[in-house]
Amino acid sequence: MDLSVRLPRGLTLKNPIIAASGTFGFGPEYARFVQVNRLGGISVKGISPEPWRGNPPPRVWETPSGLLNSIGLQNPGLTTFLEEDAPFLRTLDTVVIANIIGHTVEEYRTVAAGLQNEPAIHAFEVNISCPNIKAGGITFGHDPDAAYHVMRAVRSVTDKPVMVKVSPNMADPWTVAEAVVEGGADMISAINTVIGLAIDLKRRRPALGGTTGGLSGPAIKPIALRVVWEIAQRVSVPVIGMGGIQSAEDVLEFLMAGARAVMVGTITFQFPQRMEEIIDRLPLVLAHYGFRSLEEAVGAAWTSRTADGAEGGE
């Protein structure tokens, strides 16, 4: 079965499985365990104009079927990335997505501009869903207007395909998705982590050095599917889904909810080879559920009634 995925601006994935940003470093780290070129793509750790030191440790904490993290987007900054990390990425034969971050609209523009001519980078993922980043007291990711302006700024400096990564921490995440599509986004990726907190009973304080953190892993899969479901039915651009994917069946859930491709994050820590296993099993799972192609599965669970965000829940 042909697993390739055609995305806007000529971007084509070998298969719909992309390593999620922040869980796969800058590419070489997992190369000892994973055949990186078998993946549909990788999204690298968030890159800012200048180096960010990140949050104090502890930075991870386990929760039921989930993982809380507060890395705080530590990264070496644009210049070091170009000098030290881009050369390896250029050797890869798969799609490389630069996840970009900033404190201001200007910073997003700077990173995008700085990577526009870097051949290692095939697409951008604009991370506006990190609760660390603020604009006028509201994170970009929760404010459709601010998100629109970030996207416009990025669009003004690049003709590479751009996806914007949206936050699940709101009732109406589609408002942000619609705004960034308006601002020129070619795709939406969803979701980033869910804000959470854990208490370290022994130390009598928040478990994470950064106090709150981002929840990922299987626990958030239903939250992610809801966001993908609602956005994919409202925007015309492709949606890349993620959140808690562990298996080819999980991938199929995202496809049927409307995603064209997916990203896989936290499960890689437990099972570095899981993404390759999913790629191997996906054709079988698609066939098992009666699909003759990957495309056929996309949005296959949509019913005639449009999602209006008003159903279910107590």
């Binding site: 922040g22 869980t23 796969f24 470093g25 780290e29 997992y30 000892r32 365990f33 750790k45 030191r53 990140g54 104090p56 440790p57 502890p58 930075r59 991870v60 904490w61 386990e62 929760t63 079927s65 989930g66 993982l67 993290n69 890395i71 530590q74 892993g217 936290t266 890689t268 820590f269 437990q270 099972f271 570095p272 080879q273």
Partner: protein, 262 residues
């Protein structure tokens, strides 16, 4: 190089109350070095890092001495020979080999002792200068591998806080004495952060290299996620630089760590 593989457990021994030593076997383990670790799949969301307590490169065997502190280590403690562990190993930067002609002090606390034993096992036979192992714990039960050191030709100095084995007190007393005698000594230490901070302080004046093996909660274990950081030098106006225990460490030279931030 490191690999992802399943390794059979060839031995499992209860070495102390709530402490088990498992020995696993796999060709990749021939490459393991003292101070490195294995990242082990357990039923939790994350793997569990455990240092090598002994390494047999000929047979591709390595020991994992585990203290039961939570669910993951409890699960490990229940494993039996014939079962398999799913590991990523060997990982991390281990100890730099000691200069065989320079006095050598090994300082270990609790489950910090095993990696030091693996260092002695590896480099002790060639060591020509004086050497000493100072093993500490709260109480006698926490002193691990004293017999192994002895069997490998080094009678360890013991220190327990309740005085139930060796000297009453911490490892600091014996360390100060040894450093006074051998100010040019090289030091390797592993144990709780409090102990390592003291070792770092006491050894500040020493002229030899001081290597400290650190612990931190880990995600990937292989350098990709930036979870496992410790405050490191240089410390700028906004704080320290954060470095990864899993790949920049677990073993750091004392100058590399920003102790006032740990």
């Amino acid at each position: 190089m490191a690999g992802a593989f399943k390794a059979p457990i060839v031995a499992a021994l209860a070495v102390a109350p709530r402490h088990v030593e498992l020995v696993i076997e796999h060709p990749e383990l021939s490459m393991a070095a003292p101070g490195q670790f294995a990242h082990i799949l357990t039923p939790g969301m994350l793997r569990r890092p455990v240092s090598f307590s002994r390494i047999d490169p000929q047979r591709g065997r390595a020991g994992l001495l585990v203290q039961v502190v939570g669910q993951g280590t409890a699960w490990l403690a229940e494993r039996s020979p014939g079962e398999w562990l799913d590991v990523l190993a060997p990982l991390g930067r281990g100890f730099q080999a000691p200069d065989p002609a320079r006095p050598w002090i090994l300082v270990g606390g609790g489950v910090g002792i095993p990696p030091l034993y693996s260092a002695w096992e590896r480099w002790g036979p060639q060591h020509r200068a004086p050497a000493c192992a100072i093993l500490g714990a709260r109480e006698a039960d926490g002193i691990l591998m004293a017999g192994d050191f002895q069997g490998a030709g080094l009678l360890p100095v013991l220190a327990t806080e309740d005085g139930s084995a060796g000297r009453r007190g911490t490892v600091v007393g014996p360390l100060e004495e040894w450093l006074a005698r051998y100010p040019e000594a090289q030091v390797m230490a592993c144990g709780p952060n409090g102990m390592l901070a003291q070792v770092s302080r006491v050894a500040a004046g020493a002229t030899g290299p001081v290597q400290l093996a650190m612990e931190q909660r880990m995600g990937c274990g292989i350098g990709a996620c930036l979870a496992c950081v410790v405050p490191a030098t240089p410390v700028g106006p906004e704080g320290p630089r954060y470095r990864r225990v899993c790949t920049d460490g677990p073993v750091f030279f004392r100058e590399e760590l920003a102790w006032s931030w740990i």
